[in-house]
Symmetry: D2
Subunit: 444 residues, 4 copies
């Protein structure tokens, strides 16, 4: 998962892109980069770490021009090194081209091998570089036709932004796995993975780029071409469950509302025991726990305090402090938990290891009973489209029964939301969302 | 405000101190330091920035010995430079001594000038250094007597830890402005500014160091002497309102419970309009808003999403984005706010500038009405005991009437909690807490 | 001009390469890099600055394997950035290939444009990358045949080393502009731009790679193929005059002896005035001044002291100290110079600006007369083969007469060595050396 | 040994000080620092490493004011850490004071203990800090009287510069162990450890500060007081033999001339074998070898090439390359050495380990015979006055006879210069110089 952002035609293009990336920081903390253009020359700064660590004031000043694209990376494919940080830039003949990509190309390796047979040399191990090589191979004259030709053989998930001189292009794969929105700020156009990127800079949300659409922003105007027959929409429902910020619009729906619906559906399907109190695993389950508590008329409490100062390179103690990795992030509030019947709401269970530790911490604080409620169905299949889920054999729900997991966690009851409940929470009918991680039915 | 921590007699003394500082990170992000001792030699690492930035794995390994003290600094007095970062270390004759100090010595400058007259040379501009010079001047033989003699002329707020060879000493000023707790972990003793430092490492809370007490930890035992006639207790109530972590005990009371009481008292005194919803300024007002919502039976919603990735050196845009500094931290959720009557709960108003921006953001999102509720009385006087409040003429409540502030903020109503409501929220009667920032009655 | 080095089959391959680069440091201070191989995997460290700055102890330890190549860069073509630092590495299909190149490819741009037409994407602006693309285009199976095919269309100067799994390949252009030597150290083979690289690690000099030769080092043996009809040898005579270290063998001749010969020939052609003393511009003219002094039986003195601590980023004073840039490097010794008739020996005059300053400094110290003697002919033409000479119109000897230059410098007499004297100083007859910078007769 | 420098009253005070330190770089490469003053406020930059590494352009710009002092440190006493880097700065009462010190205080520990008894706290382990504490203890009003009072109890070697608001003070110990010169540049006064610091910035040498003199530079004028009865002069003769730059004046004599005299005296006392050639250990013995060669009418050759790119943190190979540490610095020129009878001139022998390696290298290059000539007497006693000689039992001449050392080195003959020859080389009679390292007669 990554965050991508672009500004077309603003005197502060790089600054606004910096802010946009900052608002998209939750989509990737591994690296960040901005490429700007003054119409002729490119300026870039790309580095490892958080947006606020990568860019110094001087960097932003050096990033001249009215056009800029940016990227925050959360490693999915490609080894995690600076060389794979984006945007990727190439200088080809006398042309500069930069690209920022969110998603995962499922046939990248195959395409790469074919290109290498013909002598192509790749700079990175990132699957995004395939797009650039296909474009450079294209004999088309117009950039958007080169893009079209390059995207045609590509399978999988991609939302992608191109910067070329004084033009910006955006494209989204025919299934529309990953979102990409366009907004407006005075005379500028803005592209952002999520609408929360618009809020910070005061831009207005216009719409999502459509699946199979190439958007051309040039001469201060937007044009659009459809480069592919529209496939069945397969938007990633996990963005709503976990990944996106609750103050964003995603695939046209409010994440906050969907997340609250998930809690309500969960409360309908698996209501709480009497006398129980509801607590969330913060911050991702805050909204669904609120939905659960309101619908079930049980009091919400802040049972866990989350430490937000976690650095990237935290040092673990030599002699293991029990449940250390969970403890360092979450601390239960004894006064809330002690002698209480708890309904703990979480967004999902992947490996189950953290959940187990959290339950153990609650027990040590004197919880009387613990009921675990998950605001999504069991994850049984890995994602091929850009979310960093582990192999199938590390997914606890792929290997164990509900009762086995319950015992593992050491809770009094465990309930997941049903697929039906999940679909009730979104406006879309089944056909609009990709549910592959729950059902194993992969769209590509 | 600072955080201080110590470990007596543990093979992982530096590691546990690192974790303790990490749990106290909210008490100061400017610098962090650890000094350890193997009984003879000192080892230290002190640097600017967050705990997770200052210490590398190798640093911790180099910090040998079974004894360690640590400090996280939030600049109050003394210019903010590395030279003022703590713990302060001195080597005097053949003796090593390190000190970590939380608080503010009100007669530091006077004492310093007197010492300088006699030829003393100060290394730092920190008021804490005065303690060391007074100790070195003392002709007493025993360290705890040197400490006693040094603390006698000192006025103001201090919780202070000393490391000397294989001994650790702790002291708290006679009024007890700043807390300092002692805990136990197997055969080790632990000192921490707040009890949340114990939770992460699995230590058990024993008690607070008493005002006017010097605690001597040596030969694996605790001894205690009273170095001063006990003064009227004057514990900082602002720790409960804002500064301490809600999962801590502070002055013997649960911060979570006190904060929830504040919200309830506020709801009793200034109940919401019908049909309103309650939202907090996250995260400091989360618990009080919950107390308010529960007591007034109005729904709580997460109206603001807080961005936790704010770096220390955020770059502001050249051309001002309106309300930028607030926006970068908080984003309202349009779906929650639009067309609603809001009760916004905040912990306090200092200058009023951020509050104003937040209200403006809510309005732009379509809030119908906004009622502002503050879970503490108006702050009219600066703090002299370690909390970084501005001068009196920057405190909005010192200059303007309630109605003027309400107009400034642009809200439909504004209510503070009364002093009486505040005291109802804590177990202590008035005499136990310092209320100087509200009343101007300074204990020293 | 660059330095290249390689170690084949030594347990300390990276360490020896580090030492080799260190001995070749005078050939380029802009960047340094080492790539090692354990036969399967590559390990690399490449950075900007001096060898001693780029590599930390840990870097060397990480550079595993019995095979390594290294490079020190002195920017000639390609912008001076880290991306152009060598060795260049590519991963193509499942193959790793690294290359270190010394020289200048004269038709690089042409070849590059052609490759780009076919869709090739270049990572760097370095001309060396063309070799890699041509190799990857080759349908040959064997690496040495790929090399042969790639080198065929390339014109200009190159000595080049390739690392591939557990094999090392070396090649030199058909004219042999730049040297490349092979040596032996126990069971290892060593490649080095100059023989001084062998001395430091205790290796024995075997011979130079021949012009037009590809050397294949695999299975602990050396094989050799000739990839090109041998062209007229055109070895760079400037290596002897200035660039190479005096303790090196270069093109089979001792640089020290050649340089001393230059001084003697110069003394024969332009003998000193009676009563004069001989001083050198240190350190490059030390040996030739010695030859001059010995042959003419005049005393040598150390008239200039050179400051060897010059950093790369020396800060110049705002208000110009007269002749600052020369002064910071050279200081005349007043006691040597005062009231003396001086013969100043220098290796060459390029722009003439430094010489002018040096002369002025001597005069200020009270020199009675100054006779300037240059141990090479006037440089009238730029070098196309890797030496960083300026454009023709910046070469003082291309624009001005001897008398004009003499006046510019402000010396009593000025004499250059003749072409004949130059050729007398080397064993080779004219056909063996490139004299293009003096004569304008470019071999390619 | 250290270098100290000061500029009084120049708009570019910090820049000129930077240049001065740069010219004094050979006197200490461990750390460098500059403190400037605009008359009221101090500005400083102090760091570890070379002058060119410590200071960035921005640093120099920040160092405002017309007054500046600088220091380059070569660790003698005090652990080598940044805390001991100079100039030392203190802020005392409302006064700023900075000090740069060259030399070694022999009773520093004693004075320190006494001060600590009275409660003084030291910041560093440097002996220079004692001066500051003694000054702060003084009840005198005028700074120069404080200095006088502070210097009175101090024994040993010191040349010291003080910066105070818009005044600069300089002092030299009564024996005058270490030099300190004053020069003039337009309306500015310049202080420098050696006169080569004047040349670079174009200043004129005036004179040396006298032993026992305090110089006061204020109100654009120089005043002088004598703070001590003049003791027998004991200037360090080793400055002439090895330490100072040959283009400096030192104690009123030209280092170049003294060094050449040393070679001539050596040639008189220990003439060369017929048919021999003379080579120097570069660069310190260059001038004395020239004196030797000229006087004995034997040809000088450059037998060793010195690598000037040695970094501070050179990585040694794991498996020892024989004589590595010498080899990395010096490489013999085979063509010079082979089959020759050599007279090798060196300035001194300390431990003898490097000499041994150099001789071995010459033999491996085929030297027929090697005669070692040392341009100073045998060093048998450690220096207490600032030169970093090892303990007596590491000094080879303190433990072994001439014949034993000759055998150790493996040379055909070994001769030192006599004390008489040494004294003939300087203008001074015996009473003017300290010869303690040769004779054991310590002046203090």
């Amino acid at each position: 998962m990554c965050g991508i952002f672009a500004v077309y035609n603003d005197i502060e293009a790089a600054e606004l892109t910096y802010l946009g990336l900052y608002a998209l920081q939750h989509r990737g903390q591994e690296s960040a980069g901005i490429v700007s253009s003054d119409g002729k020359k490119f300026y870039s700064k790309i580095g490892q770490g958080l947006v606020s660590d990568v860019f110094e004031k001087d960097d932003i000043l050096r990033l001249k021009g009215r056009y800029a694209i940016g990227h925050t990376r959360y490693s999915t494919t490609g080894v995690s090194t600076i060389v794979n940080a984006q945007p990727l830039i190439i200088r080809h003949k006398k042309v500069n081209l930069a690209v920022a990509h969110n998603g995962n190309i499922t046939n990248a390796l195959l395409l790469r091998r074919k290109l290498e047979e013909d002598g192509a040399i790749f700079q990175t191990t990132s699957d995004s570089e395939v797009i650039l090589h296909l474009m450079m191979k294209s004999k088309e004259k117009e950039i958007h036709n080169k893009i079209k030709e390059a995207l045609t053989p590509i399978k999988g998930a991609y939302s992608v932004i191109f910067l070329f001189n004084d033009k910006i292009f955006a494209a989204r794969d025919p299934h529309g796995f990953r979102s990409l929105c366009i907004g407006k700020l005075k005379n500028s156009y803005i592209l952002s993975s999520e609408s929360c990127g618009f809020d910070l800079i005061g831009a207005t949300y216009l719409r999502e780029i459509e699946p199979g659409e190439i958007m051309i922003i040039e001469n201060k105007k937007i044009k659009s071409i459809i480069f592919s027959q529209r496939e069945k929409k397969a938007q990633c429902i996990f963005e709503h469950i976990y990944f996106a910020r609750p103050d964003s619009k995603m695939f046209g729906e409010s994440v906050y509302e969907v997340r609250k619906n998930l809690g309500e559906e969960l409360a309908k399907e698996s209501p709480p025991e009497k006398e129980s109190i509801v607590i969330a695993i913060p911050d991702s389950a805050n909204i669904s726990s609120l939905g659960y508590a309101q619908h079930s008329k049980r009091p919400l409490e802040f049972g866990f305090i989350r430490n937000h100062y976690i650095g990237r390179t935290f040092i673990e103690p030599k002699q293991s402090i029990r449940d250390f990795r969970a403890k360092v992030k979450y601390n239960p509030v004894e006064e809330v938990v002690k002698n209480k019947v708890l309904v703990v709401v979480d967004d999902s269970i992947v490996r189950g290891t953290t959940s187990k530790k959290l339950v153990r911490m609650l027990k040590r604080c004197g919880a009387k009973k613990t009921h675990y409620r998950i605001s999504s169905p069991p994850i049984k299949y890995p994602c091929h489209y850009g979310i960093d889920t582990p192999n199938k054999n590390e997914l606890v729900a792929a290997k164990k029964s509900l009762e086995e997991i319950r015992k593992d966690l050491g809770v009094n009851s465990l309930r997941y939301l049903s697929i039906k409940g999940l679909l009730n929470s979104v406006n879309g009918k089944k056909c609009k969302y990709c549910l592959a991680c729950f059902t194993g039915e992969y769209p590509v």
